[in-house]
């Protein structure tokens, strides 16, 4: 624990992309997504439930994801989300945007141009 958990403000703008990325591989329910994010980030970032459900409520009417109630492994009901074709397109676009932004921001915050 040498470093403090990363500020959630830095990640907030990318929550939709993170969710779309995780849904690309398989359908998941809310808690499963939180768990996956905690694992992927090695505990450095925690996706809070309210943030997650707000994102679902935003993306479903946009047609990026769809949901259904299903049975969980322990018999309980779970609300599963899956990515739509529009969602896959949005994910690829967001990923491209992020890669461009990343190099740009690197350049801006370090004050060094990588271009000659």
């Amino acid at each position: 624990m040498s470093e403090a958990p990363i500020s959630s403000d830095l990640i907030r703008g990318h929550v939709d992309t993170i969710i779309l990325g995780l849904l690309s591989s398989k359908d998941r329910y809310g808690y499963e997504l939180c768990k996956e994010v905690a694992q992927l980030s090695d505990g450095e970032y925690e996706l809070k439930e309210p943030t997650l459900y707000s994102a679902f409520r935003r993306m479903e009417p946009q047609g990026l994801i769809s949901s259904r109630w299903g049975e969980g492994s322990q018999g309980g009901r779970r609300k599963y989300y899956s990515i739509t074709d529009d969602g896959k397109r949005a994910y690829r676009q967001n990923l491209e945007d992020w890669k461009r932004a990343r190099t740009l921001i690197d350049r801006l915050v370090s004050g060094e141009s990588t271009k000659e």
Binding site: Y31, K48, E49, Y53, S54, G76, K79
Partner: protein, 229 residues
Amino acid sequence: MEAIRYYVRGAFQGVKQTPQAIEQQEEIIADLLAKVVDLVGEGKSEEEALGMAIASAGDLSPLVAEFEIAEEGAAPIPTVEVYAGALRLHAAVLVVLIGAALMILSTAFGAAVHMLDSSAALILIASVAAATLWLRSAYSAYTADPDTTEFRALTPRPSLLRTLSIWAGVCFAGLLMQFVLSDGFWVWPFWVATTAWALLPMVEISLIKRGVMGVASEPQAANASVNAA
């Protein structure tokens, strides 16, 4: 496990209990319960797991703020807390009984007008198998956890209209098939199945109304119990 329900419903206190709001609460409850099961699996005590799950959900108010506020004096959508497993089991038993009665009647009718042929046995076996499977799954869900409850909006109209229109559609398609094939025999199992299925919401509603399967609770009443807890 009730603690989670109280916590979530308490957080949604004052929100207009639309189907969306009720579904959102159900989803949070289901996810938090999954987390509790996980934590207990890691060796935590149930008390500890409940506390950790609720703490990790954090402040629900940003999410709650997205929902419409209940208007003062507006008639709340009547809701009911039903024992889900028991309700499904009873509904399954009743619908299967009704379906069996319909099937016996239509078979007797088929025999009376000499329309029955030898494939009737196959259809009968398939129907009995389907009914057995359904009853078995309903019964095992009931025995697994008879106290599971679900929070439902008592708005039977949309589901009634939907099932009735599907029923009418199947009957119409059946008539059409009968006309095209000039043999209505293959049609009646579908007709019996949809008729029994269309009766399902009515069966559920009457079970809930009789009060055996659920605790009638207006949203206000649910909130009152949160305050008391």
